[in-house]
Every structure is written in C-alpha cells, then in structure tokens.
Symmetry: C2
C-alpha cells in the first residue's frame, strides 16, 4: 500500500483516457475534482490486491450511463458514494477498499474520488482492463460470478438495489433502463467482491498500468518525442491508421452513444478510408471495408500530435488522428470471454479476429 501522490493524478488521467478506447475520453473533470480534494487534504492509498485479506469486501464502483451526459453534467461522485452506502446498508457489512469496474475513461477516477470522500484505499485492479459499455462485460461475469446485489443511486434521492437477477445480462438490462429514466447517468456499486475473488477474478495492476502509460505519454511530450510511439511501445500495440476525420455520426439512445466515425488516410495511408463503429467505446475498425481490429481489443483514436485520447462523443470533422490497437486482457479473448465481449456481443455478424501485426 502506498499513497497515490497528487503529481501522479494527471498521468492516471492520460492513461485512463487512452484505455477508455473512446468511452468518455480523457477524465479531465474528474482529474480537476480529484486535485481539488487533494488540495483540501485528501490522500488516497493505492493497494495491491495481494494486500487484501480473503474475506475483505471491495466496493466495485462506476458511473453507468451515456458518456455525453458525463460531459454535460459535472461529475457527482456523491451519487456513487450513496450507492456504496446503500450496498453497505443492504449487506450489513463495511467495505475495506474500493475499485473501478473499468480502468478506461472517467470511471478510472472514481476510486480516487470515492476513496477520498469515504476514506477508503483503492485497489490496483479493475474488471475490464479497458472500458466497455455494458455492466456484464467484466472478468467477473466471464468467470461466472453473480452480478448481484447491484446498488444504484442518482443525484436526487432515488436509490435501488437489484437483489437478484436471472443472468449477468439481466443485471445490465434492468440497471440500464433505470439509468436512462434517471437521465442517462447514475452512480452504481456492483456486487461486493471478496479479497479472494479480486485476487482470482479481477484484472490486476490496472491502475499501475494506466499510470505507466500516462507517464510514458507525458514523458514523450516533454522530450518532444512522438507520444504515439511511446504508447505503442508501452502497450505492445500497433498503429492501424493515420488520417483526418471526415465524418462522425452519433446518437444517444438506450443509454448509450452509438454511431460511426470515418477517417480519410494521410501519409502512408493516403487513399484509404477507415470507418470505426462505436457503442460508447470504439468496437470495430475497418480499412476500406476490411476488418482491421475489433473488440475486445482496444481501438484507440488519438490526437496525432499530442497522443491525447479522443472519445466517441467528441471525435469530429477535421481532427488529425492516429488509430492504434492495443491487446485485450487474455481472459477477454479466451473462449469463455468472447461470447460476452467479442464482436457478436456487440451485434456484429463476424467472429473475433486479432488485429494484424499483433505478434510483431
């Protein structure tokens, strides 16, 4: 266990933005709020999963909703704290620590905010190794753990607990319609996880991974090296495409943002066209109609100059971008993982295919 220092927060934000693969993008507002809490005296400890006792309980938190809303409304982690308190009241036990359901995007910062507000350490782990749009797209669900009880709170006084669900997908479906009714954003505390479960079923080291990635990008910027290269080196990724965004169509529907971005090639890719489909996160990239990379691998659209992550909500005409693919966590591409997080789980009619150059 060590203190997460105030100086590390910007790197966490940069790393989480990239690992968000378009879902919510760079958690700038959350970073500012965390820095404010730190200035007011808060300090959050980062603990390794191995430091958890097997019967410790960990609060797994997230904002659930459409990324656009988290850009329109200032982040209100109090609703997440309320979801955590609601869960503690329901199970009659206190949490030992907090972690995020996903290391990508805004949710990566929630353990910092909730940890500061509730005086809990954050665990160096997540359950996605990136960001995914749906609550059941986690290593916990892939390993067959129940996703209930599931606690949900909004910024009004609405509080709900799914005490049992017929399947992981039903937890998502019920939670999602409620979130939409509440204005497409709510704080959630997922099923409490024991220390033993975290050690066995979480994706470990996620916060450190985001910090390493963010630090690499920031160092490259400082040294006037190409941050894109730094990301590829740090994450064993590949550069899929360079170009200029020439179209982006999106609609916020059913609690998600869905749409497609189109990118005209530049440099070595001149004359080629990339399209990327998204559901909160980028889910499948095609070059001239041929699949280039797809979920669960990470498709990252970055500002070509400074390596900052662009989001499905903010990508727009004229941006110069580099599109990278980073490998998913092994459990996500495993035979038991793909039915939950592979392309068919996103409605595509094709099977998972590793991005080319992955072995390189």
């Amino acid at each position: 266990m060590r203190i997460l220092k105030a100086e590390e927060l910007p790197a966490l934000a940069d790393g989480a933005g990239i690992l968000g693969t378009g879902g919510g993008t760079h958690p700038y507002l959350e970073l500012v709020l965390a820095q404010k809490l730190y200035r007011e005296g808060a300090q959050v400890s980062l603990m390794d999963a191995s430091e958890l006792a097997d019967d410790d309980l960990v609060a797994v938190v997230s904002f659930m909703g459409a990324p656009l809303v988290s850009k329109e409304r200032l982040p209100e982690p109090e609703s997440v704290c309320e979801a955590v308190r609601g869960m503690e009241a329901y199970i009659g036990q206190k949490f030992r620590a907090v972690m995020s359901i996903e290391i990508g995007g805004e949710n990566a910062f929630l353990p910092v905010l909730v940890g500061a507000m509730m005086n809990l350490p954050m665990v160096d782990a997540d359950a996605m190794g990136r960001a995914f749009p749906e609550a059941q797209m986690t290593s916990f669900a892939i390993d067959g753990l129940d996703l209930f009880p599931f606690s949900l709170a909004d910024i009004r006084a609405n509080r709900m607990i799914i005490t049992r669900s017929a399947s992981a997908k039903w937890t998502e479906r019920i939670g999602r319609v409620v979130v939409v009714e509440l204005g497409s954003i709510a704080g959630t505390c997922k099923a409490p996880r024991t220390g033993a479960e975290i050690k066995k079923h979480a994706i470990l080291g996620s916060v450190s991974r985001a910090l390493t990635l963010g630090n690499a990008v920031r160092r490259a910027r400082g040294e006037h090296r190409d941050p894109i290269d730094a990301i590829i080196d740090t994450e064993s990724g590949v550069l899929l495409f360079r170009g200029k965004v020439d179209d982006a169509a999106r609609r916020t529907t059913g609690g998600f943002v869905r749409g497609r971005a189109s990118i005209a090639g530049l440099g070595a890719d001149t004359g080629k066209q990339m399209t990327i489909d998204f559901q909160n996160e980028f889910s499948a990239a095609f070059i001239d109609g041929k699949l280039s990379a797809c979920v669960p691998d990470l498709i990252c659209v970055l500002d070509a100059e400074n390596g900052e992550a662009l989001g499905t909500e903010t990508i727009r005409y004229g941006q110069r971008v580099a599109v990278l693919a980073l490998p998913a966590a092994p459990i996500m591409v495993s035979p038991k993982g793909l039915p939950l997080v592979g392309p068919r789980a996103f409605g595509f009619d094709f099977d998972y295919q590793p991005f080319s150059g992955k072995a390189a």
Copy 2:
C-alpha cells in the same frame, strides 16, 4: 375476521371487474386459479382493518404492467409472493396480512391468491377504491406516505427493491421502466403499511364493496332484472350512455395500454356519439365532444345485457354497452387528491368535473 367462502369468489370477480373501470376487466383467470386453490384446501380469511394491531405490517401487493399481458400470460401470483418475500427479507420482519393496492380488476384477486399461497389473511381495504394505472395514484400517496421501499419480482429470477425514491412519481417511473423491460408485467410489494396506517389512510371496506356489487349483479341476472339498474342502485351511480361500440383504437406503449373507444348512441341516445379515452383504465368520457365524466370518478363500460365489465383491452366493434359513472372515494376528489388522480394527472388540459346526475 371471517373465512372468505368459495361461493363468494365469483361475486368478488364480478364486482372487481366493474370497479376496474376497464383496467384488466373481469378477473376470470384469477378467479379460476383461486377456485383451484380452494379445491386443493386453501381458505383465505377476510379481516376488517380494525382487527389489525397498530404495529402489524400489511403487504400491499399488485401486478404492475399492461393489462394485455395479464390476458396473454396465465396469472403467476408466485412472482407477487416472491416480491412479498423479498420485502420481508429486506425489512427483516414478517407480514401479518395482505391487501391489494386496488380493488378493481385482476389485482383485486391477488390477496386471495397470495393469501392462499402464503397463509395470510386479506384486509378488507385497498388504496384506490377502483383501479388506476399508476403506482402513486393511491390514498397513501395522497396522504403523503412514502412509497418506498418497493419490491419487484418477475417470473424469471429478477428481484429488485427501490430502497428510496425522490417522490411517489419517481417510484412509479423507476418501477414502470423496469416492468416494461421485464415484459410489461411483474409482481410488486409496495411499501409495508402498519395497521395504524391502514386504519387511517386506506380505503376501507373495499372487498366487501366488491362482493356487494357482484352479488347484486348476480342476483339481478338470476331474477331476470336489469343488472345495469342493480349496479346503479348499489353504487349510487348514473347511466351516462347506451350504445354500440363503433371504433376502438389502442396501443400498448410505455407499460400501459392507451387509446380511445367510440360508441354510437342507441335508444334514448340515438344520434349522439360518446368517446372514451383510456390509459389502462377509462379516464374521460365525452358525449358529442362535451365532457360527461372523468377521473377519479369511475367510468364503467358494461355489456348491456348481462352487466359484465368490458375492458380497455377487450372492448371492440359491435358490442352493445351501457356506460355508467360511479362516484370516486371522497379522498380522491379532495383538493389534495385531484393533483394525483384528477384529469390533469392523466395529461388532460381540463379540471375535474363531477358527472351530472351525481346528486340524484
């Protein structure tokens, strides 16, 4: 406290059908199921609210959803029992008795079914004095009681508790979207009510009222008298219109059936046209465009021959009908009641108006 006898069940069904004012109509399937349970040895006690101790807890139950679905699927009171058990587990207390949120339609039979399955007496009371489409349209909400916790269960394994809500309307909104997602029907157990609350805030004697009404209709049929007259006499109602249904438009949307029925006058009403708007229940009746009766008063469309209630889901071209208005419970037309159950609560742009002939 007395045993509700098997011979009384058909009268309860007839009376509840009429008091349903179109929402779900005659609870035939529930009657058949109750008779089956009785044949298998079940017996349900009917208790007066005055027999409740002030700190007894009463389970207030209902099916929540669109009436059409309750016609397509056989009734599954097990989901309501599950909602009741879920509530008992959440509050850590056992219920002393069960009552329906509404004496109209299928839900009037739920206390018989749940009572038989869980061995609980049913209270001679409800919270609407009729049927209403939304969960907050109750005497409890009108009197400012909280509508949480609110327990919900479906026929799969999905279970949910709204532990707190920002308002009565929010309980309805959250519950409704979940019910729609679950297939537009779910079993619910509303906020537990103490005996003291029932005695002070419920509408008392509702089951007896339905039995009296049903018995009057059945007696009139047996004696070849006009059952319509029997209903009017028993309930201090008025005959609004007689005619033939010449159009009915409905759609099941947002967890409700909404639409409009049109009736061409016959007999004394020849040449006139009645239209009736509905949201699960009939909510406003117009004769030649002029308001004739509206919520919260009961608008009952009955088979002109046998007095059987016709529902918003089943009313159809060619039916010969008598349209009656019956007076609402006093709390419903009170200044604090009308904002929740008057015409504006149903989206109409006019104020409540008593039906003419009411004083007669």
